[in-house]
Symmetry: C2
Subunit: 430 residues, 2 copies
């Protein structure tokens, strides 16, 4: 059992604005055991392997990265400041074609390190070489929900179903959700087969959706429907799911999301850096669409930093609405934690309550950007930074604390990633 | 003499893209003594008080915060998610009215701590209670350029001239530039007197300029001119200066800036959070207008973090232009360092060269967000964070290193700021 005492605590289990209390948090194995003030009996019975004096710092649910492609770390700073098409077709695709499974293992480990520095304990990851990716996560103790990434024709449906059956249950830290790359990379037969699979397993389906204006325009030209309308007509969203990006959504699209319980996962860093646009957060909030946040992959962001995403989510909404009151801090904090967890199906990791998974962070308030303490939610969203992440715990294990990674050979990961990134560049540009 | 060895070095003295070399940086008292590879004679003659192994980390010029109101830290997270008018008139102004000089001293110290964590060694600061503010900076070894902040009628001109004469030369770390709050808070007689003062001292003048659409519209209604055109017609910009924000600038405004050598100081965090708009960076770059970056005050941002501003500067420009190639990383890095220094008149602190002031930072590359190293400028701007600031040196003194502030009682500053922020709130809302 690990004991945090003298803590400020934000469980995020109640309604917004989130209440902050004082007390203790105990974890046992992978779960939260106690939140609040222990009784004398509990104190007498407890055997602590470690006691941590939080010194008034804040303990809260960890961040959940609800959309990313972790292993793309090798492309970071390799192809920036380029038009989208040139970036994708001349830079990203040729290098990705050279990736091996072991490359993905190293590049994903690098990404997971960065997540931990930002207080992220789980990612909703869409990529390939899944065995190597899973190995990277489980070795590190990092939680991941794999998202199906099929594209092309219906011959690929068996791989999707195979992965669904293979990776669910493979490890307590790993799960797999049905998903596909995007409407524009899948033919209609494949989409129909995915809908049938959703029906067969009564399972949610997640995919890139309405990231760019071009994608939506071409879908309407092809099918007479937006991507969301198309998915709805096929029954793909009959059991919910998630749409990644959701920058160019119609009113009807949002209504479908609301009706089907589909989560809109925003990626404001990526959507800004690639000039895709600003999502209509206010309207989605008004309609009651569930919101989550993701970093997207490091080739298009380029950081994997939830503090950046939180700030961008609210200020871009304020800019779009021309209203400084738009998208308040509490709604952002919810999307980055509880919303993200639920969008990924991690209902056991969403809030800080006894019995839930011990996926939590300690926020260092004893830094200048957190002072004075007028309002903690606003401090985190508006002036918070990775520097305030003092401790990151996933499934009851402390993985990152005071700038150090527990039990990991970080230099070996850096060296492996650097060497492999260079090799891939050399293969493409000999 | 302090010696940094085994360093990557970006002097930023040449053209973009900025070259990165390997070598050493030596500082003597407040200045840079050597950059590059020392000769055997130099090594024999040198007496080092400290040798720092940079271990391949990057040494570069420090960031310069070209527009802020530091002491507004007390308002952080006190008044967010509010419409601009309500924020300013119901929250900011009533609390500011309660400020004492000693309050400003504490609140400015808190801001300076935060600047150091972000690699900022100088601020272009517009506020009041200047004696206390100067004391806060000089005690900490932090560089500041005070910006005149007069408003109202011409009776205030003597105070501006008095401050100009008083604070220039008062301390090597302090200078003072002519300035006023904004067109909309000054009557025309005062503006005329400011122009005369600029002429008398052949001095640049700096002010808030075209921050909001409302400000520009009302100026045109009143004078038939934009703020920039009005200042130009009065001769205020005859010796250059700086415009803070510059969100709503006409082509002619930009041409005036270019002609007069006036710097456009962008504050993308503040302009986003207050929903003021996105500056037209690309057009200013095309016209050759000098660009700098500032955080603005902590009531409207709310962080004092140059990494945030850099990222926002480029991605907001990409969004505005609908072009992922807009505003490349090197131009952003220039604005945050060299551009900022020159906008503030700190020509001795702009680049990393022998004879210049030793205002520099060491960027920790041994962190996941900086790996792999494909391109350092892009790493800093797109994935960099405050966590990468390993060391901050101002005027040859290490003020911040590995998360610690040298010789400062940080807890005393936090406690003083917290207590005073609370007192002021209680005075306004008893």
């Amino acid at each position: 059992m690990i004991r945090f005492k003298n803590a400020r605590i934000m469980t995020m289990a109640g309604d917004k604005p989130f209440e902050v209390t004082q007390g203790e948090v105990w974890t046992q194995e992978d779960k939260v055991f106690l939140v609040g003030e222990p009784t004398d009996e509990q104190l007498k019975a407890a055997q602590f392997e470690r006691e941590i004096d939080a010194k008034g710092n804040l303990i809260m649910p960890s961040f959940k990265n609800a959309h990313t492609h972790s292993a793309m770390t090798f492309l970071r700073s390799y192809a920036d400041d380029l038009p989208l098409q040139e970036w994708l077709f001349n830079k990203v695709f040729p290098l990705e074609a050279k990736l091996t499974g072991e490359d993905v293992y190293y590049f994903a480990k690098l990404a997971n390190l960065e997540y931990l520095t930002s207080g992220i304990t789980a990612s909703f990851d869409m990529y390939f070489e899944l065995d190597d990716y899973v190995k990277a996560c489980t070795e590190m103790g990092f939680r991941s929900v794999l998202c199906g990434a099929v594209s092309g024709d219906e011959s690929n449906i068996e791989r999707l179903e195979g992965n669904y059956l293979k990776y669910n249950g493979i490890d307590p830290l790993i799960s797999f959700r049905l998903g596909f790359h995007a409407e524009y990379t899948c033919d209609i037969k494949l989409l129909e087969r995915i809908a049938a699979l959703a029906e067969k397993y009564k399972a949610p389906v997640s995919t890139h959706n309405s990231e760019t204006a071009k994608e939506v325009k071409e879908c309407i030209e092809k099918y007479g429907k937006t991507p969301t309308e198309l998915f709805e007509s096929l029954g793909i969203y009959n059991y919910g799911g998630a749409g990644f990006h959701c920058v160019h959504m119609s009113d009807n699209d949002m209504d479908i999301f609301k009706k089907r319980g589909v989560w809109a996962v925003h990626n404001p860093g990526s959507n800004s850096k690639l000039a895709s646009g600003i999502a209509d957060i206010r309207k989605m909030q008004e309609k009651g669409v569930g919101l989550a946040l993701g970093t997207d992959g490091p080739a298009s962001n380029n950081a994997l930093d939830m503090f950046r995403e939180m700030y961008l989510m609210t200020v871009l909404s304020k800019l779009k609405e021309n209203d400084a009151a738009a998208c308040d801090a509490n709604s952002v904090l919810y999307a980055a934690t509880v919303g993200g967890a639920r969008a990924m199906g991690l209902w056991g990791c969403d809030t800080l309550e006894a019995g839930k998974q011990a996926d939590l962070i300690m926020i260092d308030l004893s830094q200048p950007n957190m002072q004075p303490i007028n309002n903690l939610s606003k401090n985190i969203v508006y002036s918070g930074s990775k520097t305030n992440v003092k401790l990151t715990m996933c499934a009851g294990k402390v993985l990152y604390e005071d700038g150090q990674f527990t039990g990991l050979d970080v230099q070996e990961i850096y060296a492996g990633a650097q060497e492999r990134a260079q090799r891939i560049q050399n293969e493409v540009n000999p």
